[in-house]
Symmetry: C2
Amino acid sequence: MVNTDGSHPEGKAAPGTDVDRRSQLVNAAVDYVAAHGFADLSLRGLGAAIGVSHRMLIHYFGSKEQLLVEIVRMSERRQRDLLSRFRLEPGLSPSDAARLLWQQLTDPRLASQERLFFEIYGNALRGRPEAAPALEGFVNNWLEPLVAAEVAAGADPAMARNRARLGLATVRGLLLDLLATGDRAGVDAAMEEFLRLYYGSK
Amino acid sequence: MVNTDGSHPEGKAAPGTDVDRRSQLVNAAVDYVAAHGFADLSLRGLGAAIGVSHRMLIHYFGSKEQLLVEIVRMSERRQRDLLSRFRLEPGLSPSDAARLLWQQLTDPRLASQERLFFEIYGNALRGRPEAAPALEGFVNNWLEPLVAAEVAAGADPAMARNRARLGLATVRGLLLDLLATGDRAGVDAAMEEFLRLYYGSK
DNA sequence: CAGGGTGTGTACCAATTGGTACACTCGCGA
DNA sequence: TCGCGAGTGTACCAATTGGTACACACCCTG
């Protein structure tokens, strides 16, 4: 790297059409990574799959590292969108709302995205710098809405955080189980048991 | 690969001292991988760290692939040893036994081994062939002893499997939380809440 | 039409990778 | 003592990697 300013050598002040192209490329990249994995991604392989040369990826993102950062960010954003698109049913009991969320989360079409989620998780735990910033949000981004839901459902505020944390952990643990075993019936049964304990219905 | 039998080119029928050296190397390799990560392991880096040339690693294991397989296997074995070393306290209530197990699992000295566990998990989900055989065991190896414990504690056999599956998922989810956030107090509190729900004490 | 900047492809480079060839040492049995 | 085979290091190879140099195509403004 010869030039001393932070920007990458070409195309200094991005004009605007660049932005569209960039986000389009990032979206395609996330799809590719969700399908083919995060760890052993190569610029050439990705480029060939999404129809650009690896040269262009460097052009738009400056380095592979930066591209990975943006892939992680976009993947996070998609997860958050997924969560925000939910919660549109006002009249449900907490138990039924949770069951519905669980059904949505275990939609097979989301499987590859969730695998990517756990893969990024693992890489972040390992200290891979492009994934590390996601670590903080892995729990906290999800915890806050859950705490709010618990409080809204009338839980004691001091308990709400513990319960939210517990619910998040259980969902993730069962999701991990489902992805590993594919035993949807078994995992669903365990979730039913959890809902019974958690919401006290019988 | 020129020769047609399954063995690697050199040192055909391993004489016996080979075996010791191999398992010694695998043990050192697991330690190294637990500390430095599984995904971007290089034979040279590993060799330099544990005091052999990468040439020797190829010699003993035939290929990097095979070495990774044995690392995964050994890591599994250690996990299982961890579990079997437990369960030595006869007089405990199920709740206290679970609490004790949780305390052991969250010992900071196990953190790197658990990170490795989740990293292998992620790679296995991605279909990495050297990690894939572990997928099956990730759930089932742990489920069976837990089911047995549930039944021994008097649970209904039909419910025992669901409860065991739920407990396993929750523990793993909270472990994931702990590794990501380091918030031991928060995670411990969530676990206490779980134990309260799970074992019905107040 | 002229000219420059943006977008892109081709060719290339240095570094690193897993794996191999060959030479060397050392210990043990004849 | 001789030899031979297991264990090891050095040097090397081909492939792949991220990243760069340079040239070309296109579009917009003058």
